[in-house]
Symmetry: C2
Subunit: 584 residues, 2 copies
C-alpha cells in the first residue's frame, strides 16, 4: 500500500509539502486511514508526543485492522507498525525529503539499524568468524558490486548492506588482533552515528557550534594529560597519525623559518629531521611531501628493544650540522609500531634543548598510556615536547578516525597555515571569532572526529575508565609473554616484558625445532608466519599481524587494544597458531 | 532489574563469557526468567531466528508478566521489551563486551537511534529552526560540557546526545543554504552508520575487503564520467578537497621531478603553479605545505564572471619561464567557490599541452555536474586533465566527507607516495597485492569514505537519479536569479544566468536605494549582509553565506545543493532577507 505514496504525494515541490509542518495533524489523520493506525503511532514520535503517548488516543486511532493484536509500542516504529511497507516497490526517492516520506524513512532507517545491531552483537560472539574470507576475484564474482544504470529498490539497498557486512572484518571481535586499532566501543559507535546524522564540518563555530566547543574542551584536557601547565597550547584533530606527524613537521619548519610559507624551501637552508630506525614511516612520507626529501630524514639507531639511542642522536645532530644542514625536528616515538618501544624522552628532550631543535613525540600508539597511573611513566618527558601526536582511535578504542596533534605553543598553527579565505572566515561576524578554528588546518572541510572521544570520555571517566581498559590490555600482553617465553616452539624477538601490548615472537614448527640456526632454517622460518596467517584468515578464527624487521625474518606481532579480549582469547590464539602451524 | 546484571554477570573475563556463543540458549532461558520474556524476544534477534520468529515459541516463553498486553513485535527490540531498563543505574561498562551485555546494548543503541530519527525528521520540517543559536560563552554556560572525573550514567550519555543535537545546525534543513555541502541523504546516512559500525581502515584488502573493492569500482566509474577511456587511471578518496588538491600538486611535482621525493626541493629548479584569482585557497595552502611557497602560486586574472582568462595564463607562463622558473601545474577550477564559475578547460588544456604542464581541475564543487546531461558541457575539456578533484559530498549530497582525487596516469600515486612499510604491506600475503592500495596514500590509516557514495549511487541510478537532483538545484538557482535580477532592492554581483547554483547579490535596504554610489554608501552596504546574517541566525529561520571579494564589498552568496529545497524555500529566503534588512 505504502508503495503508492510516492505517486500519491509525489509532487516534491508542492506547497502542500512545503508547509507540511503546519499540516502535520491532517497528515497524521490521512496516514491513519491508509495504514491502519501505523501512521498514527509514528505521528506521536514525529510530532513530539513521543515522551508521553496518550494511551487513549492510541486506542481510539487503531483503525480498520482491529483484529490485529494490540501493540503497546505506540511511541516507536516497531515491526508491527511496518507490516504494510514493501521495500521491493520503494526507492530512495520515496524517502525524505519526499513529501510525506517520514514513515517510509523511519522504517527504512530502523531496518538498517536492525542489520547493524545484529552485526554488533555478532561481532562480540566468539562462535562467529572474525572474517568470512574471499579472494578479491571471488568476492567480485560472489555479488554484483557494479554501479549499474537502474536504480535499486530499498529492498536491494538493504541487501547491499547485509552483504557488505557479511564479508566485512569484524574489527570488534575479541579475537581480532591484527591492527593497533581494534574493538568496537558502544558509546563511541553511538557517538559516530550521531556525528553522521549531524553531518557538518569543523571549519567554523557558525556551522558546528557544539563540536567546535567540544574540540576545545577535549584538546585542552589532552594537553593537561600530557602535562602542559593548565592544558595551555593548541591542537587539532586530523585525519590520522600520519597527517598529525606531517602537521608537526610543517609547524616545526615554520617556527624555525617562517619565510618558508611564502618563499618555499628554496629560500631556507637544507633541513634534516631525525627519528629512530623503528619510527613510523609517516615521518619519511611527510618529509617527501613537504619538499624536504626522504634523504634528509636521518634514522637514529635503536637498542635491542627498539628504543632510540640518545648518544647516536646527538652524534648525528653534530654530524649534520658539520655538513651545513639544519636539524629542525626530532621525532621521538612513544610506542613504536612493531616493538611497542618507548624512546627515552627525557634524554631526547635534553638533546633537543641543547641544540634548539623542535621535539615532536609520535605517541599515536603509546599516548593512551597517559590515562594509566600504572603505565604513564613510560612517557616521562613528553611534557617537554613541542608537539605530540596522539591517536585515541588506537589504544583508547575510539572508532576510526580520531587522531590529535597537540602543540605547546599557541597560535603557531594558525600563523603557519592560515590563508584568510574571506568567504569562510569573515572578520565581521557577530560572535567571538577565536572559535573559527578552520584556518589553522591544512584541510578546508574537516570531519567531526571529536564527538566520539568526548562522549566516551564522559561515559568512561577519563582517569579511571580508560585506565581500567588500558591496564587490562597491558596485563593481557604480559600474560601472553609469560605464557610463551619458555614454551616449546616459541622464540621471542626481544627479551624482557613488553612495555606496550606488542608481543613479538616466532612460532617454530616441530620440523624446525632441532635444526641448526643456519640460512636454510631462516628461509623456512620466514614462510611460517605468512602461511599460518593465511590459514587463520581462511578459517576466520583469529587474525594477528606479522612482518620482517631489519635482519629478522617474518615474526608475529601480537597487539592487544580490544577491551573485549580475555585470557581465554590469548589461550585460543596460542592453540590456534599451534594447530595451524604444526605441519609446517 | 537489569541494572543488577552488571554485578550478576560482572566477571568480564570468566569462561562463562568467553564461551558464551555456545551457551546462548541457556542464557536466553536465564534472561527470560529475569526479565519476563524480554530476553527471550531479543534472543530471536540475537541468535538468528529474527527472520522467522516462531509464534508458538514466543507465546510459550512470555513468562511471569502475563498481565502485560501481548506485544507482537517479537523480533525487534521495542519499547515494551525495555520497560525495565533504567539507564540511571547503568554505565558504559554494562554494555558489550560486558558479559551478557546484549540486551542493554541493543536497548541503548536503539534509544540513541530514536534520538537520531527524531532529529532526522525534524531536520526536514520547515516549522523547526535551522539553528538554535547561542554565542560561544552562552553555550558553554547552558550545559556542562567538561570532561569531569566521574563517569556518567547511560541516562546522562543519552542526555548528552539530545543536548548536542539541540544546539546543532540542521544541515539537512530545506532552508540551510550556508555551505556548498548541505542536505541529508537518507541512503547516504544509512551507509555512513554502517561505515561506523564496520569501523575499519582502508589501507589493505586484508582488513577492508569489500570497501577496497568498492573504492576500485567507484573510482573507475568516476573516471568514466570524466571521460577517460575505459575509466582507466588511478585515484583515492581523501579527507576533503584541500587535501585532494594537495595530492595533485604532489603528484604533478613528482611526475616532473621524481628526484624530489628523496632529495627535496633543494635538488630541483624553482617551481611555480598557476591558478585563477578566484580559485580555492587550498592551492596556496598546498604550495605552502609542500615547500613550494605561496609566492610561487601565480594568480591568473579572471573575467567578470570569475573565469580564468586563458591569454593571461599563457602570458604568465611565458613570463615565469623567462625568469627561470618551471611552471609545473595549472590548477583550473570547475565551479569556483564564490561565483560558481567554470574555467574554460579546453583552452587551458591547449595551453598545458603546449607548455607541457600538468593540468589539474579542481572540480570539488562543479564535478557533480558531470552527472547531468544538461549541464555537463560546462566541464568540457576535463577529460584532458591529468588529475581532477571531485567532492561528491558537495553537489551530489553525499554525507561529509567524500572527496576523490582522480589521476589519469596509473601507478604514479604509488611511486610518489609509497614507503614500503613492511609491517603493513607484506609482500608475501596470500592474495593479489594490487588491492593493498594504502601505500599510495599520504595517510597511513584512512577512513572509509566510499561506501556512502557507492550505496547512494546504487540507490539513485547514477545517470538519472543524481542528474534529477542536480538539475533541480540548478533550476532553483535560475529561479532565484530570475526572481531578483530586476527586483527592487537587489543588485547582482555579476550579470547573466548562473552557471552553477551560486547566485551572488547585494540586498540594498530602502535607506540606501536612493543614495549615490559613493564611499559612504559602500561603507554602509558592507555592513548589511553581516547584520542580516546575524539576524537570520538569531531567529534560526535560514542561513546563507556572505563575503567580500576583491573590490566588491560583502554580498550574499546563495548556493543550492540541498535536494530538499523548493521554490517555496527560495521565496522564503527573499522574504526573510527583506524582513530582516528593511530597517538597515
Amino acid at each position: 500500500l505504502l508503495s503508492g505514496w510516492g505517486g500519491l504525494f509525489g509532487e516534491r515541490e508542492g506547497k502542500g509539502c512545503a508547509v507540511m509542518g503546519t499540516l502535520a495533524k491532517a497528515w497524521c489523520q490521512a496516514a491513519h486511514k491508509f495504514t491502519g493506525g501505523i501512521g498514527t503511532k509514528l505521528c506521536a514520535l514525529l510530532y513530539g508526543d513521543a515522551e508521553k503517548p496518550t494511551e487513549t488516543g492510541a486506542k481510539e486511532d487503531l483503525g480498520p485492522t482491529e483484529n490485529r493484536p494490540a501493540c503497546t509500542c505506540n511511541n516507536k516504529p516497531c515491526s508491527c507498525q511496518k507490516a504494510d511497507i514493501n521495500y521491493a516497490f520503494l526507492h530512495s526517492t520515496d524517502l525524505l525529503p519526499a513529501c510525506n516520506g517520514e514513515l517510509t524513512t523511519m522504517s527504512f532507517l530502523q531496518d538498517v539499524m536492525d542489520i547493524l545491531l545484529q552485526y554488533v552483537v555478532k561481532s562480540f560472539d566468539r562462535s562467529t568468524k572474525v572474517i568470512d574470507f574471499h579472494y578479491p576475484n571471488e568476492l567480485l564474482q560472489e555479488y554484483n558490486w557494479e554501479l549499474a544504470d537502474q536504480p535499486q529498490t530499498l529492498e536491494e539497498i538493504l541487501l547491499n548492506c547485509r552483504t557488505t557486512l557479511k564479508y566485512a572484518i569484524k574489527t570488534g571481535h575479541p579475537r581480532y588482533f591484527n591492527q593497533l586499532s581494534t574493538g568496537l566501543d558502544m558509546v563511541g559507535l553511538a557517538a559516530d552515528w550521531l556525528t553522521s546524522t549531524a553531518n557538518t564540518n569543523m571549519f567554523t563555530y557558525e556551522i558546528a557550534p557544539v563540536f567546535v566547543l567540544l574540540e576545545y574542551v577535549t584538546l585542552r584536557k589532552m594537553r593537561e594529560m600530557i602535562g602542559w601547565p593548565g592544558g595551555c597550547g593548541d591542537g587539532i584533530f586530523s585525519p590520522g597519525g600520519a597527517i598529525s606527524n606531517m602537521y608537526a613537521m610543517l609547524i616545526a619548519r615554520f617556527k624555525m623559518f617562517p619565510e618558508v610559507k611564502e618563499k618555499g624551501m628554496a629560500a631556507i637552508p637544507r633541513l634534516v629531521a631525525l627519528t629512530s630506525e623503528h619510527s613510523h614511516f609517516s615521518v619519511k612520507k611527510g618529509a617527501a611531501a613537504l619538499g624536504i626529501g626522504t634523504d634528509s630524514v636521518i634514522l637514529i639507531r635503536c637498542d635491542e628493544r627498539g628504543k632510540m639511542i640518545p648518544s647516536d642522536l646527538e652524534r648525528r645532530i653534530i654530524e649534520a650540522k658539520q655538513k651545513g644542514f639544519v636539524p629542525f625536528l626530532v621525532s621521538a616515538t612513544a610506542g613504536t609500531t612493531v616493538y611497542g618501544a618507548f624512546d627515552p624522552l627525557i634524554a631526547i628532550a635534553d638533546i633537543c634543548k641543547k641544540y634548539k631543535i623542535w621535539m615532536h613525540v609520535d605517541a599515536a600508539w603509546g599516548g593512551g598510556l597517559l590515562m594509566s597511573r600504572k603505565h604513564k611513566w613510560k612517557l616521562n618527558g613528553v611534557e617537554r615536547a613541542n608537539s605530540v601526536t596522539w591517536n585515541p582511535h588506537k589504544m583508547m578504542g575510539v572508532p576510526l578516525q580520531c587522531s590529535a596533534l597537540l602543540v605547546r605553543e599557541e597560535g603557531l598553527m594558525q600563523s603557519c597555515n592560515q590563508m584568510h579565505a574571506s568567504y569562510l572566515f569573515q572578520q565581521d561576524k557577530h560572535y567571538d571569532l577565536s572559535y573559527d578554528t578552520g584556518d589553522k588546518a591544512l584541510q578546508c572541510g574537516r570531519h567531526v572526529d571529536v564527538f566520539k572521544l568526548w562522549l566516551m570520555w564522559r561515559a568512561k571517566k577519563g582517569t579511571t575508565g580508560f585506565e581500567a581498559q588500558i591496564d587490562k590490555c597491558l596485563d593481557l600482553a604480559e600474560y601472553l609473554y609469560n605464557k610463551i617465553k619458555n614454551r616449546e616452539g616459541y622464540e621471542m624477538v626481544f627479551d624482557g616484558k613488553p612495555q606496550h601490548t606488542n608481543v613479538c615472537f616466532w612460532y617454530i614448527p616441530p620440523s624446525l625445532r632441532s635444526m641448526e640456526d643456519n640460512e636454510e632454517r631462516m628461509n623456512r622460518l620466514l614462510k611460517v608466519a605468512p602461511v599460518i596467517k593465511a590459514r587463520m584468515m581462511e578459517y576466520g578464527t583469529t587474525m594477528v599481524s606479522y612482518q620482517p624487521l631489519g635482519d629478522k625474518v617474518n615474526f608475529f606481532r601480537m597487539v592487544i587494544s580490544n577491551p573485549a579480549a580475555t585470557h581465554h582469547d590469548i589461550d585460543f590464539l596460542i592453540e590456534e597458531i599451534e594447530r595451524l602451524g604444526q605441519d609446517l
